[in-house]
Amino acid sequence: MPTAQLPPVLKASVHDVRYLAGLLRGVNFVNKATVTVTDTGITITVEEARSLLATAFIFADIFDEFVYNAEKPSLENSSQASDSEDAEQENAAFEIPLGTLIECLNIFGTAGASASSSSSRARRWKRDDDDRGSENEDDNDGRRLGPNRGGDAGNTSIEQYFASGSEKRTGMRMSYAGSGYPLMLIIAEEADGPTTACEITTFDPEPHLELPFNANETELKIILKSSWLRDALSELDPSFEKLTFIGNPPPESAAATGAQTSARRKSAARSGALQPPMLRIQAVGGFGSIEMDYPNDREVLETFECAQRVCFSYRAVHVTRALRALQNSTKTSLRIDSSGLMSLQFLMPSPVPRSRPGTKSGTEAFIDFKILPLDDDL
């Protein structure tokens, strides 16, 4: 059969699955997930209640090996050129039970929850672009951080040396032959230990919700340390039904850019009682309500852009779905557009510095949540 001789659509391997498993766990709240494979990596998309869409972007460079061969839709030679063009455009997509995939990766119990390293090196969230499409931006960012990262690499490699002595790692090799074929995994813990072969049935992908974020009408844009958001969300009791995010323009926003920070702080303190908080999270449930205010402090809200008062409500369960992704993330970008669509992006730092001297450093993996607001009339 000629089709059997085609190279597999995806071949990837990684020597330590913990980081990958951590990324997958971040979106593991619905079992059916759509995996899309492209030249640059893979994305995992899940959707809940037609109002929450979560996507994990995993770039090819976190894998030790990543080979993607576009699947030819058919062998008919009607018009070669356009066909091959189409094939380039087209990405391989399939649906898999995500929970099963994670269980398989953790079969030796060594893809545990401590996926990200404790060394949370400060990383600048790249300037928040509408989409992750602008490659140049990434490259600039990477180069700018280059020497700094080099220093870090020295530190972490020592750390890594100690870690490898005490902890076992699970290596994984993944292949996907094409639509209709199962996703094959080969997992091994150590060279002479047992190996596990898994075949996970794949399904044809079903169309997902389209939730385009209207970047031109961004009403609120915040970048903050993930732990600040995680602490707030983990405080919430499951009985809360509705979460409201309220943003207010920063006090004397015009002067703030030019003025000294100390002066600004003083004035903020003076007028503190009068000024509405810049970011307030309000939770309402059957047993009561709770309000959490974020202070106007660069330490907390690294970036804050808001032109006018913003107030949108979301289902609390949808927002708290992000907690697992927040667990391993360092920075969060929170944006709300004029229709109330909230976009949360979590930067997931890789535990091992991937930028070796001489090689181009890649983009950080991240997880993206898009949540539709509740209708205010209901």
Partner: protein
């Protein structure tokens, strides 16, 4: 009927009962002059798992005295949980006595308020050095010899394959992950040291494979004790090289048995006692697991688990 002994190896006894307690609430202990038999053969057990074990009296007890009309054997039915709790207090006092006090756990058969009990007398010392005596009674039912005679080990054909299992703790991690995905586990082994554990469902197929396991060379259960008293060193030295002329012609042939994954996990609870475990596969019939207690050098006994096969018409 008289029975009195000192428990010299409380931790091992505790761990054995720990493994039993997960399996069955009420079980049978049969004391003979030389051995303690532990029997769990309740019909209602998950997947029909049974335990028939023999432990040498010397490996657990000292100053062992037993006397009865039934050929100096005493059989008791008792609650595994109650026994475990009594042994737990005995272990705790053994820890407290680590300061150097000799302490003693005496086990005897007694009758209190018209009920037969196993009475634990635990002598220990507090941290302050004061001596403490704790008595712990476990209510038991003494079994009639006629009832004891009805207890029969399951009949099994000659196993197709014997294989030494990897550390049970590792197996347990893997089987724990598989459990939510499937109810049935396929165990396969061959005579060249290969062992696989697999599940196969509509959504996932997982095979975990070990190579270089040891196939102990013997054909009957009686020989196992011989192995563990003298031959084991040569056994492990033989690992990997399988020149055995008397073995079946095809050492690559895999023998398969399907078992309930929950039963298998219950057996894996015995990882607390195990040092060495031999698995036997009787293809399409059952699986027998010999869990050796304590150090191999002084193999004090063996816990034998029987897990019946699940006959499945599927494509396993």
């Amino acid at each position: 009927m008289r029975f009195r002994t000192t428990i010299s190896n409380v931790p091992t006894f505790f761990r054995i009962i720990q493994a039993i307690e997960k399996l069955q609430r009420k079980f049978v202990m049969k004391f003979t002059e030389t051995e303690l038999h532990i029997i769990c053969n309740h019909e209602a057990n998950e997947g029909g798992i049974q335990v028939w074990s023999q432990i040498k009296v010397d490996s657990l007890f000292t100053a062992y005295r037993i006397q009865s009309n039934a050929n100096n054997e005493i059989s008791l039915a008792l609650s595994s949980e109650a026994l475990l709790l009594a042994l737990k207090s005995a272990t705790a006092s053994a820890e407290a006595g680590a300061a150097g006090d000799v302490d003693e756990v005496v086990l005897k058969l007694a009758k209190k308020n018209g009920h037969a009990v196993l009475s634990f007398e635990i002598a220990g010392a507090t941290r302050m050095g004061k001596s403490v005596r704790v008595a712990h009674d476990v209510r038991i039912d003494v079994m009639k010899p006629t009832d004891v005679a009805l207890l029969r080990e399951p009949m099994c054909p000659e196993p197709d394959i014997h294989i030494l299992l990897p550390p049970l703790q590792k197996l347990r991690t893997i089987v724990d992950r598989m459990r939510p995905m499937s109810d049935i586990l396929a165990v396969r082994a061959n005579n060249s040291g290969r062992l696989t554990l697999s599940i196969n469902t509509d959504s996932v197929k997982i095979d975990t494979e070990w190579r270089n396991c040891t196939n102990p060379k013997m054909s009957s259960f009686a020989l196992y004790f011989v192995v563990f008293h003298g031959e084991l060193t040569s056994l492990s030295a033989r690992e990997g090289s399988q020149e055995e002329p008397d073995e079946p012609p095809d050492p690559e042939k895999m023998f398969t048995v399907l078992v309930s994954i929950r039963s298998f996990l219950k057996f894996l609870n015995s990882h607390v006692v195990s040092t060495t475990t031999i698995a036997c596969v009787c293809q399409h019939h059952c699986m027998i697991l010999y869990v050796y207690i304590g150090d191999v050098a002084d193999a004090g006994g063996v816990l034998t688990f029987y897990i019946p096969a699940i006959i499945d018409d599927g494509d396993h």
